[in-house]
Every structure is written in structure tokens, then in C-alpha cells.
């Protein structure tokens, strides 16, 4: 014999809307669906030239998406060449700058009395506009090499380095010093020398902070590379091509380079996220 168990619900019956809202799989799905809806609406508005009438512009300055895509396909060799140039600048600047910033942070953490003021001076560097720095380093690197392409690359890398070093220095210092009080006491109880405390406690503690810094400085390094290309001696890089093509009134080509710049940013961020999930595995 089978018994049907009937549970009587207490209280008001939930509306359909509420039930949908509390459904777990709908919640997961909606994080994808809503952005997709928004994106599709924007693409539709762009393709149907509604955006153009809002901004009082025409398809010449704001070309349709399929045209931009077509041009990207047509000039993909030149796109690749300029992308490599920009990415090289951003990458080396990011690498050298982050290492430098981290070393400075370690130095300040070891000698806090001398270093703290230095850190605030470095922080000031972060608020110096890129446009003020780029031409200075252009002039400084005139003797580095007889090859204009190489020396303007060096000057661009220096600018990116400074921006990234400031960011990394400030964040890594927080990571090296903002430690749980008990763990510092524990090291003292163990009578651990400063060197060991640094190696076993401070450095591991700073890893998440390093990624906080990178989340800011990866997009910043690409942006800085693009802006310093504007002032560089040698005409290369995605940013410079945007400008050169605008001057020639070839807006569709310029848009192709803008799309490339966005792609570089997105890909770099995805790489960073993957790296972060690998490195921070044991923190979760």
C-alpha cells in the first residue's frame, strides 16, 4: 500500500516571480543571460545605426561592426606586427616595474624607518601624468642605440616600468606588513630571526596583494604603453596606429586598431586571472 504524503504549506503561497527568483539554477543562468541581453541590444543599436543618431555621427567615423571586422581580417599582418610591439613594451615594463616595486617593498619592510618616506615619494610618482614623463625619457634615451626603433622602445618601457613599480611597491608593502598579529607573535615565540620571518611569513602573506597590484597594473601598463607610443620617436604600436589613421581620416582602420587594443586588454586580464587561480590555490 502506498501512502501519499501531503505536506501542507504554512503561510502565503509564493508568487511565480518569487519562486523563479529563488531558484538556484536560474540565479546561475541569469549572470550570463542579462549581460548577454545587454550586449545584444548594444550590438543591435550599433548595427541599425541607432547609436549613430544618438551621437550625431555617421558610419564614416563610427563604422558598422561587420566592416571593422572585415578590415581586421584584411590587415591582420600589420595588426599582428603592431600588437607585438605594444605587448612587448607593456610586458617588459610590467615585469621590470613589478620586480623593482617588490624589491623596494621588501627593502622598506626590512628598514621601515628609512624606507617609509621613500615609499610616499614613490607613491607620488604614480600620480605624475604619463604625458609628462614620456617626452622626458624620449630625450634621455637618445644615446642608447643608433636604432630609432630600439631606443624609443627603451624609453616606452621605462615609462611603463615607473608606473608599475609605484603600484606594486605600495601594494606589496601592505602585503609584507599587514600580517595577522598572532602569526607575528608566533614567530617571536619561536625566536625566529628576521630573515626567517621574512621568508616564511611575510613573503607568502604578500602573494594575494601582489595580484591586487597586478589587477590594476596590467590594464595600466597597456594604457601607458599606448599613450607613450603617441610621443615616441619611432612610429609603431597599436596606439600610434590609432592616431596615425585618424590623422589620415581612415576611421575604419583606426577602429580596427581600437578593437585590437581592447582585445589585448581582455586577453591580458584573462591570462592574469588564470595565473591567479593557479597561484592562490592554497589560499582558498
Amino acid at each position: 500500500m502506498e501512502y501519499e504524503v501531503k505536506l501542507k504549506k504554512v503561510g502565503r503561497k509564493k508568487t511565480l516571480r518569487q519562486r523563479i527568483k529563488e531558484n538556484k539554477s536560474w540565479q546561475n543562468l541569469s549572470t550570463f543571460i542579462w549581460p548577454l541581453v545587454f550586449g545584444l541590444i548594444m550590438i543591435g543599436l550599433w548595427q541599425k545605426e541607432v547609436l549613430h543618431s544618438w551621437f550625431h555621427t555617421d558610419t564614416f567615423t563610427l563604422p558598422l561592426l561587420n566592416k571593422i571586422g572585415g578590415i581586421m581580417g584584411d590587415i591582420h599582418e600589420k595588426l599582428l606586427e603592431n600588437t607585438i610591439s605594444t605587448v612587448q613594451v607593456a610586458f617588459w615594463g610590467l615585469l621590470i616595474g613589478s620586480l623593482l616595486g617588490y624589491l623596494i617593498a621588501v627593502f622598506v619592510a626590512i628598514f621601515p624607518k628609512v624606507g617609509k618616506g621613500g615609499l610616499s615619494v614613490i607613491g607620488a610618482f604614480a600620480s605624475v601624468p604619463v604625458v609628462a614623463m614620456a617626452p622626458v625619457f624620449n630625450n634621455w634615451t637618445k644615446d642608447v642605440s643608433t636604432d630609432a626603433g630600439f631606443r624609443s622602445m627603451v624609453s616606452k618601457i621605462i615609462v611603463v616600468t615607473l608606473i608599475c613599480a609605484a603600484d606594486m611597491g605600495l601594494n606589496a608593502y601592505r602585503g609584507l606588513t599587514e600580517i595577522k598579529p598572532y602569526s607575528e607573535d608566533l614567530m617571536a615565540i619561536y625566536a625566529a630571526p628576521k630573515r626567517v620571518t621574512l621568508w616564511k611569513l611575510r613573503l607568502p602573506n604578500s602573494v594575494p596583494y601582489v595580484f591586487t597590484a597586478l589587477k590594476v597594473s596590467v590594464p595600466a601598463s597597456i594604457m601607458t604603453a599606448i599613450v607613450s607610443e603617441y610621443f615616441a620617436e619611432y612610429i609603431t604600436g597599436v596606439g600610434r596606429q590609432i592616431r596615425e589613421n585618424i590623422v589620415l581620416a581612415q576611421y575604419s582602420t583606426a577602429w580596427a586598431y581600437i578593437a585590437t587594443a581592447c582585445l589585448i586588454g581582455v586577453v591580458a586580464y584573462i591570462i592574469l586571472m588564470v595565473l591567479q587561480s593557479i597561484c592562490l590555490k592554497r589560499y582558498h
Binding site: 541569469s30 549572470t31 542579462w34 549581460p35 541581453v37 545587454f38 550586449g39 551621437f55 555621427t57 567615423t61 563610427l62 624607518k113 628609512v114 624606507g115 617609509k116 618616506g117 621613500g118 610616499s120 615619494v121 607620488a124 604614480a126 600620480s127 605624475v128 601624468p129 604619463v130 604625458v131 609628462a132 614623463m133 617626452p135 622626458v136 630625450n139 634621455w140 637618445k142 590594464p219 597597456i222 594604457m223 599606448i226 599613450v227 603617441y230 597599436v238 596606439g239 590609432i242 592616431r243 585618424i246 576611421y251 583606426a254 577602429w255 586598431y257 581600437i258 587594443a261 581592447c262 586588454g265 581582455v266 591580458a268 586580464y269
Partner: protein
């Protein structure tokens, strides 16, 4: 006497001053080296007193202005637009964060794109914005506001989300209306985050405004900068602009710090 010196040495600003002095010393050493080896040392690294002299001298660099006057008058033009764009961006960013807090659907819809904007090199868009708006002044304001918009929006939203559940529960017990929850709990909690966003945004707005200047010869710091670099006027104007924009970048984040201090009384108590 010894104790007095020791007390000064232990002041927090002391090591900053030492570092600034070290930087100045390095600069001067570099300048001496450069002036002995280069044909036109003032292009690469002039002595600091030469720059100061150029700032104070009464000699005219343009038709009727001395170097300092020229820099300050175009700085007024550039900085005014940068500030206008900055305020616009900050207000829109704050409203956006509020809207996203009010409605979950809007947050889900827009947040991924907010992250995306951060990855797009907006300064690369400067020439195209100029082409679309057609007016250099409008595009200055637009670029500066786009750049200040996203740090403010993301940081403020993080601030809204940082409110603990206990506070909501307390407000629920008080039977507080949503208006009061926002004005008494959420907005004050988000304020420090909002100011962090502003501090990130301010130097970017200045950079953007100067950069847009260089695109078209219509006055402003960037325009003056490229003229001076091409030796259309004294090269010292260039050095003055470098120092001036660095100074502006630093002082603006200081000013925002002071405003934050002024509007958040709980900070003063600590």
C-alpha cells in the same frame, strides 16, 4: 640638543624629506654630467636652478606672456575641463553604483561591462572621441569623465557590498525605510571606498585632458608641451609643464584626502 635632533629625525615626514633631497642630489649630479657631455644639455636634463630661473624670469616666450604666465593660463584651460569631466564622471559613477545596488538585474547586466571598460585603453579612444564630438572641449570633458567613471563606480559598489549583515538586521528591527537604510548606513559605509576611487581617478583625468590637448592645436597644456618640444618656444616651458603637471597630480590626491577628512567625522575621532 642631541635629543632635539633625535626627535626631528623620528618625525614621519623626516625620511620623506631625506628622500626628496636624495632625488634632488641625483638630478643635479646627472645635470652636471649631461652638461659636460652633451651639446644641448637643456633638452635632456637642465639644472634645477635653470628651470626655477626660467619660471621666475620676466622674458617673454610667446607674444606677450612670460613662461610662467603661459603655463598657468593654458593650465587653467586644461585643468578646468579635467575637473569638469572628473566631477561629471564621479557623479555618474556614484549614481551607477547606487543603481546597481538598488536593482540586482541592472547589476548583473552591467557589471561585466564595467570590468570590460577597465580593460579598454580609453586614452586610445581619445582621437576617435574627438572625431565623433568634433569639438576639442567637449571631447576633453567626455574622455576625462569616462576615465574617472569606472574607478568610482567599481569602488563605490564594493563599498555598498562591504556592509555587514548585522547592520541590515538592525535596520530591519528598527523597521527603517529603504531611504534611511541608504542615507544612514549604506552611503556612509561606501564613502571611504568612493574616495579611494576618486584618488585613482583624479590623476587619470588630468593625464587625459593634457593628452587630448596634444591632438589639436587649440591651447592648453598639452598643446604648449608639444610646441615647446618642437622648439617653437623655449624648451624650459616644457620642463615647467612637466613639473607643474606632476605637482597637480600629487596635490589633487592630497586635496581629495583633505575633503575626505572633512566629510567623514568618524575619521577625525580616531
Amino acid at each position: 640638543m642631541k635629543r632635539k635632533i633625535k626627535r626631528i629625525v623620528e618625525k614621519p615626514w623626516f625620511s620623506s624629506i631625506i628622500w626628496i633631497l636624495i632625488l634632488i642630489a641625483l638630478w643635479e649630479v646627472g645635470a652636471v654630467v649631461v652638461s659636460n657631455t652633451k651639446r644641448v644639455p637643456e633638452n635632456i636634463l637642465p639644472h634645477l636652478h635653470q628651470i626655477l630661473g626660467a619660471a621666475l624670469s620676466g622674458k617673454t616666450v610667446t607674444a606677450d606672456m612670460t613662461a610662467t604666465q603661459a603655463v598657468l593660463s593654458s593650465a587653467g584651460l586644461t585643468l578646468f575641463r579635467a575637473l569638469l569631466g572628473f566631477f561629471l564622471g564621479a557623479v555618474i559613477g556614484f549614481l551607477f553604483a547606487l543603481l546597481m545596488k538598488l536593482s540586482g538585474v541592472i547589476e548583473k547586466m552591467l557589471f561585466p561591462y564595467l570590468m570590460l571598460i577597465q580593460l579598454i585603453p580609453v586614452l586610445g579612444l581619445a582621437p576617435i572621441v574627438l572625431a565623433i564630438t568634433g569639438d576639442i572641449n567637449v571631447s576633453r570633458v567626455v574622455i576625462a569623465s569616462i576615465l574617472s567613471f569606472y574607478p568610482v563606480a567599481t569602488n563605490t559598489l564594493a563599498g555598498f557590498k562591504s556592509v555587514e549583515k548585522e547592520k541590515y538586521d538592525l535596520m530591519f528591527i528598527y523597521a527603517a525605510k529603504p531611504y534611511y537604510i541608504y542615507t544612514k548606513v549604506l552611503i556612509p559605509a561606501a564613502l571611504p571606498y568612493f574616495f579611494t576611487g576618486l584618488k585613482i581617478a583624479a590623476p587619470m583625468a588630468v593625464t587625459a585632458s593634457i593628452l587630448v590637448d596634444t591632438l589639436q592645436g587649440d591651447g592648453g597644456l598639452g598643446c604648449l608641451l608639444s610646441q615647446s618640444l618642437k622648439h617653437a618656444m623655449s624648451i624650459y616651458v616644457f620642463w615647467l609643464i612637466v613639473f607643474f603637471s606632476a605637482f597637480v597630480g600629487i596635490i589633487i590626491s592630497k586635496i581629495i584626502g583633505w575633503i575626505e577628512y572633512g566629510v567623514s567625522p568618524w575619521k577625525r575621532r580616531a
